[in-house]
Symmetry: C2
Subunit: 283 residues, 2 copies
């Protein structure tokens, strides 16, 4: 692989670019982005070597698509139209069903590998891109059997070189499960942030009392609405299911408090402490 | 101050002990704890110099009480009974109204300073105690005017030496505001953890997909139920108010999704991004 085209050079694409250049110094990274500022920043920061456009994609050995998932659905078929026969296209979207569906009958379906690298921060844009973002992180690959074997190999070599571990999953299960462990966390953080901001409008100095616990719990509320709105839209039914479950658990907790059933409140928390063992396994 | 008695030598008390010894090497730290293991651990770790009992409190120059808030309410009057005329007692409880009320008519009320250091981690016990926990952190002091001026001075000197900044507040406002920025964060994390654990019972490997975002949002669900149950009990009405507001915001988000109003979903998130500026101010 000599020529890699990054479509979207924000946090996710930019961090891929940085580590690919580190491990494969012979590669030339071309950046494509509708945001001209991001493109210029990425060039100045050395995240990309050259600016490019979709018209150049025929030269690509590899195309990495890391843009909002609604744009991916529209653009992915066009990208596949433009690439050459031996080129590989990878996406990084947080939803997989709509994206896989968008290209299921495309003549170059076998040139596409559907991926979701479980990595990121609450920041966005090329200035947020960092080296090592993917080390030890999970990359979920969907419908691996639909990709040409040789191109699978290329992708796996790349992912293992930058330190990722691989899990295979079908797109429907991916979207169902990721709603719980990722999409719901974002909504819970956004609504926590909203609740406290609303309160702070009437009660001054409230944030002066906030500590590291609040900061950790609300961190994801800094995330990009442009990225997250289409994720929630594409994964609407699963996300609503998780919200229902979450709201019901909160209501039950509130009802236990109203009924002064604090021994059961204790049990609720003690049972959930089990998350310790689980989180120790994540790292 | 020569002899400091720590009642409760977990994360909060232990971290106070470590930094007090660092800055005041002449001080002898005595530990009192109902948990004999904690007491022995604290001694072995050098967090305390000597083990002690409540009967020894007459020798104390300073007593720091960092135990569950329900025990503080019961024990604080007894502690004040036992100390000498010039001794200072400080608490570290996450609620302030019930604690202040418990001693409002005590003849030694002026020997007590009601404090809430906004610091901690999700860990507990003396092995979780760390140096520097309080550096740059806020200590909320309630009803400062009810403490003898000389003892206020002693306390402020101690807090400033270990790096804390001070905010003054009445206990009612403290409990109202802290419900939003601390107590609610804990419930939101506990219920997020519960929701995902419940789901994982039926869907294996779900946690294999969890990343740093989930980890951050759910971190507080590792917290101690023995510490948090009495906090929720003492601050019941304020906590229920925050839960109502939070549940309503989550419901509204869900309804916007059900009605496919994703432009408003975008706005909800964009408005809450304002939390960035606020969090930058916390550190």
């Amino acid at each position: 692989m000599k020529k890699i085209y990054m479509i979207g050079i924000g946090l996710i694409g930019g961090s891929f670019a940085i580590d690919i250049k580190k491990h494969f110094p012979e590669v030339v990274i071309y950046g494509i982005d509708t945001n001209e500022n991001h493109l210029n920043n990425a060039k100045e920061l050395g995240v990309i070597d050259e600016k490019a456009t979709l018209a150049d994609l025929e030269n690509a050995d590899l195309v990495i698509v890391s843009i909002p998932v609604d744009v991916t659905v529209t653009l992915l078929p066009i990208i596949l139209d433009k690439i050459s026969e031996n080129s590989l296209v990878i996406d990084a979207g947080s939803t997989k069903e709509a994206i896989c569906k968008a290209v299921e009958h495309h003549p170059k379906r076998r040139n596409f590998l559907a991926c979701h690298p479980i990595a990121g921060t609450e920041k966005s844009g090329p200035t947020a891109a960092i080296s090592g973002l993917y080390v030890g992180k999970t990359n979920i690959i969907c419908e691996v059997e639909k990709t040409t074997f040789k191109l699978q190999e290329k992708a796996l070599n790349l992912f293992s070189t930058i330190g990722m571990r691989i899990r295979y999953m079908d797109p429907v299960s991916h979207d169902k499960h990721i709603a719980y462990v990722s999409h719901l966390s974002h909504i819970s953080a956004f609504m926590l942030g909203k609740t406290v901001i609303n309160k702070a409008k009437n009660e001054r100095d409230i944030f002066d009392m906030a500590g590291s616990g609040f900061e950790s719990t609300v961190r994801l509320a800094k995330s990009s609405p442009a990225m997250w709105t289409p994720i929630f839209k594409q994964n609407k039914e699963n996300v609503i299911e998780t919200l229902d479950a979450y709201i019901n658990n909160l209501k039950r907790f509130k009802e236990l408090m109203e009924r002064d059933n604090f021994s059961e409140i204790f049990n609720e928390m003690e049972n959930t402490n089990y998350i310790k063992q689980i989180l120790n396994g994540i790292k």
